[in-house]
Symmetry: C2
Subunit: 309 residues, 2 copies
């Protein structure tokens, strides 16, 4: 097993769009910088929360080019290289490696359903062969509620055995703690990131590397406190606090809700835009959401000033 | 409602791959010509049976370029333009329009699940706006067993109302006859193609335009006989015959099984190759399949000679 480039609170970064619907590189760069300033351990750009699959490969690569040119450290980046085709996934992964990114997050091929472990193994293996780089680090992205196709425990074991220096971790967005716990037990030196802070404390107690969570877009400092104090006496109280916010968010469609919060607290209404097939929250949902998070004493006020600066 | 460019037996064409896994333009062109010679009413290249989503957009466009350069009539082509992103779907559709293709088959965006009709409407509408061509003809591709996301009856109605000259038909691969029947009743001048010949006869009796079916890759002549004789006394007997073959095929994973049959009857073993995440049939499955179809008196022998010629 190789050394691990990522740990802590990783953020699957929201992608801002302009009023005409194009990816907004300026706002994206500023937001990525702000997240790192807030203490994010890495930026998992181009994940599900990022609406990555609502962008073409060319759009994703252009955004990454801009981010790296702007000086955001590539080693902190774990771009999603997911695609239904092995060829496109390999192109995206190769592009990330070319920029020196710390790793890539790789979805299984998600168009065909009910495919075999052998088929998914051949896909991942094909991507790795095509990239053909000793510095490639692959994090498997297990998100069956969305992708429907996932990485079984046996398949994870086969991939680690076949590519011990390349397949080095996994984001578990199954929402199923028993799956995360089984992964942690079976693969102790693998970097496992629960896909929600709800499982962060239990995960850390069993050896997780941190978490990669959508709520990181609005609450890196809170989640980081749990990561830093998980062995201390306040751990459970701190965890209860971040879980309340997460549960408030989960009452709404996650991506539009997070974008609405960013738009609100950063005083930047354009941030609320999403790309089809997602739709923005309506006015009533927006007000209810802002009221819900305010009730928890939550505000991005302080932090938005630092982003603008 | 505009005039309809397609009717009859349309084939979602299998895509051959070389031994190194690349799309094989030479075999593809020969196979497309052979299907048209056999009486296919159109070629729905780049659908689910074509492993289209296992190819990058660039690979699909390069194959279409080669096909049109080889003289296969573009008006007979209905390439799939499906993609999770509006931008990529628009690029693929625009490329097809540039070649003068008769139409495009458009999947709904299929990464996010549980999306709203409003979101899918915005996606289709965004694609049509980006292509911005009066000759674009869109056929909606409803295949919920694979895409999980689909076009509801209400959404189909909204799209026809908004784009009466552009959204002109639908392939229904729901496998649910009650859905096909409801579409045929509610949208009588819309070109509706059941996604399997199992529903061809019932479909034609209610006004379907034909069918777009995977089995067309190996049985255009049989299916065409039903299409041409649906009002005659032999219709039910002819239909029973094609249904037996379809049911034999359905006992196996469809794409690998069809490729195995083509490889066998065309004496061209390389045709059996599939791209991950699909896997080829193993030796036992292959023998059983060939025996099953032989039992039905089915042979591509005559036809394979005409393809080689």
């Amino acid at each position: 097993m190789t050394s691990q480039p990522f740990h802590g609170v990783l953020v699957p970064v929201l992608t801002p769009f302009t009023q005409s619907g194009e990816p907004d590189a300026g706002r994206f760069i500023a937001f990525c910088r702000w997240l790192l300033d807030q203490g994010a351990g890495g930026l998992s750009i181009f994940g599900t929360t990022s609406e990555a699959n609502s962008m073409s490969g060319a759009e994703r690569m252009a955004l990454l080019d801009r981010l790296v040119e702007a000086g955001v450290p590539a080693q902190k980046l774990m771009p999603g290289a997911g695609a239904c085709s092995m060829t496109e996934a390999a192109t995206l992964a190769q592009h990330a490696v070319g920029h020196g990114c710390g790793g890539v997050l790789l979805l299984p091929p998600f168009y065909y359903k009910g495919v075999s472990d052998d088929g998914i193994f051949a896909f991942v293996s094909g991507v790795i062969d095509k990239v053909a780089s000793p510095v490639l680090r692959v994090y498997l992205y297990h998100i069956p509620p969305v992708a429907q196709v996932g990485f079984s425990l046996d398949l994870v074991g086969r991939l680690i055995a076949a590519f011990p220096d390349t397949v080095v971790g996994l984001k578990d967005s199954s929402g199923d703690w028993s799956n995360t716990a089984a992964l942690l037990e079976r693969f102790p030196s693998f970097a496992i990131f629960p896909g929600s802070e709800v499982f962060l404390l239990d995960g850390l107690r069993k050896g997780a590397a941190g978490c990669i969570t959508a709520s990181g877009n609005v609450n890196v400092p809170g989640i980081r406190k749990v990561y830093e104090n998980w062995q201390g006496p306040q751990a459970d109280a701190l965890h209860a606090e971040i879980t309340s916010l997460r549960k408030a968010l989960q009452a709404y469609p996650m991506v539009p809700a997070l974008k609405r919060i960013v738009a609100h607290f950063h005083n930047d209404p354009d941030w609320a835009a999403v790309r089809p097939p997602l739709v923005p929250l309506d006015a009533a949902q927006s007000s209810a959401l802002i009221a819900d998070v305010a009730k928890l004493g939550f505000s991005l006020g302080e932090r938005s000033r630092s982003m603008a600066a």
